[in-house]
Each structure stands twice: as structure tokens, then as C-alpha cells.
Amino acid sequence: MDFTLSMEQEILRKSVRDFAENEIRPVAKELDEREEFSYETMQKMAELGLFGMVVSETYGGQGMDYLSYIIATEEIARVDGSHAATVAAGNSLGIGPIYYYGNEEQKQKYLPKLCSGEALWGFGLTEPNAGSDAGNSKTTAILDGDEWVVNGSKIFITNASTEISAGVTALCRTGTRDDGRPELSCIIVEAGTPGYEARPMHGKMMWRASNTSELYFEDCRVPKENLLGERGHGFHQMLETLDKGRLSIGAMGLGGAQGCFEMALRYARERVQFGKPIAHFQVNSFKLADMAMEIECARLLLYKACWLCDNDKPFGKEAAMAKLYCSEVMYRCANHAVQLHGGYGLMKEYDVERFYRDQKLLEIGEGTSEVQRIVISRYIGAI
């Protein structure tokens, strides 16, 4: 077994870490407070090359492996969840489906501007009445001559309503299969198409500087060519996209946990009560020891899942485990970190307060923890 990262991965980690510390850390708190998506940091992240990380150079991507992408996401999440969300959703959910299922023309048309970060793209799966049960999507796309006519709505769609959002890949019912079940397909809808509206959602507890949207389709007509991949394969495409997406949610849990751990360790060594640094009380040092241990386990599990993916081996089970485990590790780390900060950990002045809130999404988005346990239960043959 060889646990060493490549030199490129080490350089990447250092560079993204420095970037996150210098460019994101100073503004993260304020953007969170104002619930504001920042075009400025978005542009800086794009210039660094954080979009299209695993896409080949032909389409303007970086041609890196999955593990590198995960390390970069982890380093952004170590500093701020919202920015990591923009990156993870941008790569896995926005770019992913077009890159993996798009035809040459679609790839040429959309990928270069998505990889340069000039534009963002949404992944439209969830609906008001179809969350965990995403296969129950009600949005329809009916072929009328040379056009699909889309009707319905989507909710909680990341990166879909910024000023640079260029469109969405939407899961739609395109007909009925022979067995009577709905035929689901992915349809590309560009921003600005009449009948399509993307509205930012406000009032989020977490990821407040990440863009989340409600989408409305009202007799929205798009060309027949906007079908992504094969008709009837939409749900399968979405599930495969989520398999990979889980790795990036795992990275957000891992990076967030690492950030919590570092803040907690620093604070506990400095804060003096009863005449000593609170880290010296065993109940506290044991919390820190548990955090360090769980982060180590989380990293091994996540990197192994990436290794499987990079080596073209089945990775679905490990991706679900990594997503679940990393988000729960961050849950415990954020909780410990706030506890170690005492009353100060409840105040916005301290970043742990934001990490504590941001953590919660990881147990809900891209398949809740319960759904991950269902997925794992199926893989291990329990159900």
C-alpha cells in the first residue's frame, strides 16, 4: 500500500490552502452574514482553475484526477462551506452531466465557459414533492415537433440563479415506458429561454454565500437537440452523477472537520481557565484526540473511494460510505469545536459558529444520511 500523494497533489493542496486563507477567509464571515454570493471570489476561484478540474484539456478543463479535485474541494471547505459548495456543485453537478453524457456539440458549446468559470450551471433533480424520492419527478417535457415543451418546477438547485448562471440540466418525464412507469430524461434548458425562470432562495441557515434556486418552467420550449444523452436514461444519469457528487460532499465534510479541529486545537491551547490552558483538562484533550482520529479515518475512506474511481473500479458503495461518514465526522467535530469555545463559540465573531451551521447541509444534500444508509444496505445485501 502506498499512501503518498503525488507531488502535483501536494503542490495543489498548498496552493489552494494559501488561496483559501488569503482570498476567502477574510470575506467568508461577512458574505455569510449578508447571505451574498460573491462574484469576486467566484472569479478568483475560476482564475485559479477550480472549475472543470477533472475535465480534459480539450474542453478547457484541467485534466486532473478525481483525488486532486477532492483535495482542492477539501481545502476550500477547510475555510468556508459556501465557497466549497459553489466549487463542488459547479464541478460535480453542473459540469459533470454535460461532460459525461453530452454529445460532442453540447460539450463544445457549454464546457469551455463552464470550465473557465465564466458561467455556472444547475443540476435540476429535486422538486417540491420529490426529494429523497427523486425518481418521482413531476416536471414534464413533451416533444412537440422539433421542440421539447417543459412544464413544472425544481427546488434547492445550487448555482442556478446567479448572474452568470447559464442554464440547468433538468430531469423531466418525457413519456411512459412500456412497463407503465414514467420515462425520465435530462433536458438542457438555457437561461433566458422564454418560460424559464430561476429565482434565488433566501433565508438559509447554512451555505448562505452559495446560490440556491427555485426553478419554474411554463411552456418553456427548447430545441429537440437539448436532450442530454439517451432518452429514458435521465434518472440513471442523475444517480451516476450523484455517486461522483458524493465524493465532493465527502470532501466538504472532511475539510470542514479539519477546519473545526484546527480552530478548536488553537483555541484550547490558548484559553486559560483554572490556571491552565483548557486543552490540558483531559475531557478536552480527549475531544481533540477523537477529532484527530476520526478525521484521519474519514480521509482514508474518502481517498480510497477516489482511488477506486480514478482506477475505474466500482466505487458507489465507498462513495456513499465516505459521504455519510465525512458528514457525520464534521457533525461531531463542529459540535466539539463549539463546546471547546464555550460561550464564544456561539458568537458570529468566531468562525466555528458558521461551521456548526454549515455542517448540517452535508447530512441532507445529495442524498440524506438515511438515504446513504439505504444505499449501503443495498450494496451489502441487507435489503
Binding site: E8, I11, L12, F19, E47, G49, Q62
Partner: protein, 264 residues
């Protein structure tokens, strides 16, 4: 404009330094290594000059194989090629020997400007830059915070801070400039840059390749010998000045500075 940047790998500033049992060196096991920050200013300045005038940037590093990472980082930032001087006989070399080895690697290259950091943040000696210039027989300008190349590319003006003033020094090329904080804001190694760096040439050279005598290097040849390393003394607790009014507190402070600290 062909530019050479010498770079060193140093412990990350966040590293907790521990003294090794021999009392003369530090424990290197847990250290994260980074490019010396002053050298990073040199790399950035070299890249900016190249972007303006064209030419090539070569980075030269010295040390064990791990130094490759610092060189690759410079290549990822945009430098064109790298040279790593690596040889077991170099272990424990002092600044003068380091400068000699760098000189041997540089002397036959085509260069207009050489950048080094003004000092390494580890040993803090600040000797290598000046020594290389001396060995090469070229002018040396220390502590550059601004570098202006003449339009005809035959000379350079370097700004150097001196006690709140700025000294502007002009020199013909080639010249060696040591980089000081303030010279620029180094760029990040971008992701495309990191991928491109993989394919850039990086040559390794031993002392024999450089045609120098190995006995002039290493621990035994040191002119400066480290006798002992000691950790900095632990900071003592501060003192809170008591008093009802600011006037009272100021008077108390003045008294303590005079009688206890004996600085007034």
C-alpha cells in the same frame, strides 16, 4: 531577458520547531517544507519581467530530493525549467559552500538577472545572494522592493528601503538582486499551471556533474559551525497596570519602566 531564480526549501512558518537530541539541529520528521517566502518574491518578479520582455526563467534549487517540490511549485507558477543540485556530500553545507555550488550551476547559463531571497527564513543568514554575486563577479543589489528594467534592457534600477527612505540603485546587467518583502504579491500556482509543470524540464546535478570538488562541501568544510541551538525563552506573563484614572496609570507605568524594566 533570461532570469535565474535561486530557491531554498524551508520549514513552513506554522511548523513547531523542535531541537534534535544532538542539540545542534532540528527534528525534521514532522516538518512541512515550503519555498522560502523571499524566494517566492524572486520567482514572481522574474515571471513579471519575462511576461513583459520575453525570455526564460530558470529556477535553481539545492538540497535533498524533497526540494524538487519547491522547484515544481515555481514551474507551476510559470517558470520554464528547473535545476536541482543534489548530492549526499552537500549535507550540512554552510552558506558559502551553498553559494559555491549554485555558482557552479549558474556560471555557464545565459542570464541577465539573478534573483535570490534576501535571506532564508530558517537560518536567517542572508549570505547566499551576495556570495553568488561575488563568485560570479557581477554586481549585487540587496533588498529590492521595486525592480525597473530600462527600455533598452541594458540596465536596471532597484529600489531599496533604508531607514524609512528609499535608495534607488542603478546597475548594468547582468546583476544579482535579493528580493525583499514588498517587491510583489506572488501568484498562486494555478491548477492548469500545476499540470503544465509536470512536463517542464527539471535536471538533477551532482557535485561531480558541476565539476567541483566534493571536499569543499558538507559538514566538514563548514567555516561557520553551529555549536548549540536553544529554544527561545518562554514568554513571562504580562503585568496589568492598576490605577483609578489614566493619569494614575500612566504615572505607574512610567515608574515601572524606570525602576523595574530600567528602560527609561
Amino acid at each position: 531577458m533570461n532570469i535565474i531564480v535561486c530557491l531554498k526549501q524551508v520549514p513552513d512558518t506554522e511548523t513547531q520547531i523542535k531541537i534534535a537530541p544532538d542539540g545542534k539541529s532540528i527534528v525534521e520528521d514532522d516538518i512541512k517544507w515550503i519555498m522560502n517566502p523571499y524566494d517566492e518574491f524572486g520567482v514572481e518578479e522574474a515571471l513579471r519581467i519575462k511576461e513583459k520582455f520575453g525570455g526564460e526563467v530558470t529556477v535553481v534549487g539545492l538540497g535533498p530530493k524533497r526540494v524538487t517540490e519547491a522547484i515544481r511549485t515555481a514551474l507551476a507558477m510559470g517558470a520554464d525549467k528547473g535545476i536541482l543540485i543534489t548530492d549526499d556530500a552537500l549535507e550540512g553545507s554552510d552558506s558559502l559552500a551553498t553559494a559555491k555550488a549554485l555558482t557552479a550551476a549558474i556560471k555557464d547559463l545565459d542570464y541577465d538577472i539573478i534573483f535570490t531571497g534576501q535571506r532564508g527564513i530558517d537560518d536567517d543568514l542572508g549570505l547566499v545572494g551576495a556570495s553568488v554575486a561575488e563568485f560570479l563577479g557581477i554586481p549585487h543589489i540587496a533588498l529590492g522592493i521595486k525592480v525597473e528594467i530600462a527600455d533598452d534592457q541594458s540596465s536596471v534600477k532597484v529600489h531599496r528601503p533604508v531607514e524609512g527612505q528609499t535608495l534607488v540603485i542603478e546597475s548594468p546587467l547582468p546583476v544579482l538582486i535579493t528580493a525583499q518583502k514588498g517587491l510583489n504579491e506572488p501568484r498562486y500556482a494555478s491548477l492548469p499551471g500545476i499540470m503544465k509543470a509536470k512536463k517542464k524540464p527539471l535536471e538533477e546535478k551532482s557535485l561531480a556533474d558541476l565539476g567541483v570538488d566534493a571536499s569543499e562541501f558538507g559538514e566538514a568544510a563548514r567555516k561557520l559551525k553551529i555549536i548549540e541551538l536553544t529554544p527561545p525563552p518562554e514568554r513571562k506573563a504580562g503585568k496589568i497596570i492598576e490605577g483609578e484614572t489614566p493619569q494614575e496609570k500612566a504615572a505607574e507605568l512610567a515608574k515601572l519602566l524606570h525602576e523595574e524594566a530600567k528602560v527609561l
